[in-house]
């Protein structure tokens, strides 16, 4: 009772952090422990009057997102190349080129600090996110149409995922077994993955999962890789790798990008494309400490980050997967990246204490870089929590705005 009363009053008293509220309330109640009930109420009332003095000092004013309207235009990239702008060293460095007249538009989609991890619907028309908008609302995936910002979120589905890319199927763990449900009619079945999460092929006809060792160094743990039809039938062990596994399905759903050591004693992981029909692997490159691998939508390029290891330096690289023997090209960049289309990357440099995020486009073939969004103190483009998603047509970015923790969309054309 003491705790509840005090917390309610403290909540009313000001903008204290939850942990502070509890600590302060308990400390004060301990001091007032011997009070009679009426005295406790008076004491608490007095606290309400006194506690505003305890509220944390206001933080330095952040640039306001975009009041009063939730849309704004992009700050123009600087006409001069920033001195710290990324450069491509090989094969022939090309200076970053600011876009002359960007038509970037920023639009706030949600409010009230809602929500995190937005993604585009398969048709690109809506922003999807997991939420329970009110105490009485149902938990599930909600949507805000991109062209109806700040509109009432639409309930989409109670299942929180994971889903196949086309959202035809959802996956569940029920009683220690993995169950796939066809959402159109609710028909569900168990797959033989032993309670492990499976990954759907792009066309949602097949699935893959790994059965791995649970002890030992992560770079040498054995993983048996299985593929089956989406109904769980025809399950087959297709490969064993150490410290690796399936990195991605290729767009044709007939091949997978495979990484890992072929033998436990190998020093480096081998990355290659496996044809599921023949089991043949087309080798691409070898690496250690491989992170953030990302296949282009058409499967023709791979971008990845290597971090420094005992055996070599780190960096960001792109490599064509067209069957040529081209070596990986190092990009002189460090930050977040996603594919805009089959041959262009969108890149957000990691620049600590910059006034806002920047956005660049990189041509994978030539390495040419174009700045799309420049940093500016009043820019609403500050990515929060690393949460951003590129639309299927590559022309928009959904992101968590670090300034107001709402979901925004940046229209790139």
């Amino acid at each position: 009772m003491k705790k509840t009363l005090a917390l309610r009053l403290l909540k009313a008293a000001g903008a204290l952090r939850p942990t502070m509220k509890k600590t302060l309330a308990l400390r004060l109640l301990k001091a007032a422990g011997a009070l009679r009930p009426t005295m406790k109420k008076l004491f608490a009332l007095a606290l309400v009057l006194a506690l505003p003095a305890c509220a944390p000092k206001p933080t330095p004013a952040m640039p306001s997102p975009q009041p009063p309207t939730p849309t704004s235009q992009s700050p123009a990239p600087s006409p001069q190349s920033p001195t710290s702008a990324p450069q491509l060293p090989t094969p022939s460095p090309q200076p970053p080129t600011p876009t002359p007249e960007p038509k970037i538009k920023f639009t706030q989609l949600t409010q009230g600090g809602c929500c995190v991890q937005p993604s585009f619907s398969p048709d690109g028309a809506r922003a999807l996110y997991l939420d329970k908008p009110s105490a009485n609302a149902q938990t599930g995936i909600y949507a805000v149409p991109i062209n109806q910002p700040l509109s009432q979120p639409q309930f989409v589905i109670a299942h929180p995922g994971p889903f196949s890319a086309d959202m035809r199927y959802a996956e569940d763990l029920i009683g220690g077994r993995t169950v796939i449900t066809r959402l159109a009619d609710g028909v569900a079945w168990v797959i033989p993955s032993g309670g492990r999460r499976a990954s759907f092929s792009p066309d949602a006809t097949r699935i893959t999962w790994s059965v791995g060792e649970e002890t030992g160094g992560f770079d040498v743990r054995k993983n048996d890789i299985y593929v089956a039809d989406v109904d769980g039938k025809n399950a087959k062990l297709i490969a064993t790798r150490y410290g690796g596994g399936v990195m991605a399905w290729m767009p044709d759903s007939k091949q997978i990008l495979l990484g890992g050591k072929e033998k436990r004693a190998d020093k480096l992981a081998k990355i290659g494309v496996m044809d599921l029909a023949t089991g043949a692997v087309r080798p691409l490159f070898e690496a250690e400490r491989l992170r953030n691998t990302l296949l282009s939508p058409d499967g023709k390029w791979l971008v990845y980050l290597l971090t420094a290891s005992e055996n070599g330096a780190g960096g960001t690289f792109v490599i064509p997967l067209d069957g040529s023997s081209a070596a990986p090209r190092q990009l002189d960049i460090f930050g977040a990246f996603q594919w805009r289309d089959g041959s262009h990357l969108l890149y957000i440099p990691l620049k600590v204490n910059a006034p806002s995020s920047e956005l660049w486009q990189i041509d994978a073939q030539t390495g040419a870089m174009t700045q799309l969004i420049a940093a500016a103190p009043d820019s609403p483009f500050k990515i929060g929590g690393g949460d951003w998603d590129v639309s299927p047509d590559g022309n928009s970015i959904l992101y968590l705005n670090a300034r107001d923790r709402n979901i925004w969309v940046a229209s790139l054309r």
Partner: protein, 242 residues
């Protein structure tokens, strides 16, 4: 005005409580700042170099991360099931600096975890910082005074190979080491920028009955070592895949 002895006593008590409340209102900001993570970060990052592919990257956040939930029994049971520190990925031998002025109070005190080597520094603000999974025993002894930014240790790998998961595990604890606090609120850094690269797993575990709970890096719970799990929600997401 006539008042019965009982009413007189009550009136005196009311007056005393109002005085107490006023005094408390004046003092509480100081109390709060001294004993709980305050609104103004005080400490620095544990590396002198800027983040990069050849220096360090943010690895795992403090809090109820999806990765910590998946390993809550195996690795994080002592800390109520959440990741009670911040992981920074860096190759073995990367120089670690003190996050603030302080005094060394522990060297290889493995009762507090983070083998094979650790270092504990007490800071005058009432917090201790623990630097874990170090490459070797730090060249410091209990009682040594250290300054913010001073090199104090070298990063290592808890699996002792330097190829499995080399990283620094940094905790900020209470002076008695019984509680761990969200270091993101106490270290002055551009966390949103750092989160752009390198984090393992995606985001924080969800309580489907309250899916907005603990979804912000700066809104993660403190924990008491030895306490019960705080993230075994009735409806968890992602699910507890094998």
């Amino acid at each position: 005005m006539f008042l019965s002895p009982r009413l007189r006593a009550s009136a005196v008590q009311i007056f005393l409580f109002l005085v107490m409340a006023f005094v408390a209102g004046a003092l509480l900001p100081q109390i709060a700042n001294a004993q709980t993570p305050g609104p103004s970060p005080k400490y620095g990052l544990p590396f002198a170099a800027e983040p990069g592919p050849n220096t360090w990257q943010l690895g795992q956040f403090y809090g109820n991360t999806t990765g910590a939930f998946a390993r809550r029994v195996e690795w994080y049971a002592a800390g109520q099931g959440i990741h009670f520190g911040i992981d920074f990925s860096a190759k073995c031998g990367t120089q670690v600096v003190s996050i603030g002025d302080g005094v060394v109070v522990g060297v290889d005190n493995l009762a507090h975890g983070s083998a094979p080597h650790n270092l504990i520094i007490a800071h005058p603000e009432g917090y201790n910082s623990l630097y874990g999974h170090l490459l070797k025993r730090p060249d410091l002894k209990v009682g040594d005074v250290v300054k913010k930014g001073q090199p104090v240790a070298l990063t290592g790998d808890p699996d002792l190979t330097c190829t499995s998961r080399p990283h620094l595990h940094l905790e900020i604890r209470s002076k008695d080491m019984s509680r761990a606090y969200n270091g993101h609120t106490l270290i002055d850094a551009d966390w949103d920028a750092l989160m752009l690269v390198g984090a393992f797993g995606r985001g924080f575990q969800r309580d489907l009955d309250d899916p907005r709970k603990w979804q912000n890096l700066l809104d993660q719970p403190s924990i008491t070592f030895g306490g019960s799990f705080i993230n075994e929600f009735k409806h968890n997401w992602p699910q507890d895949w094998k």
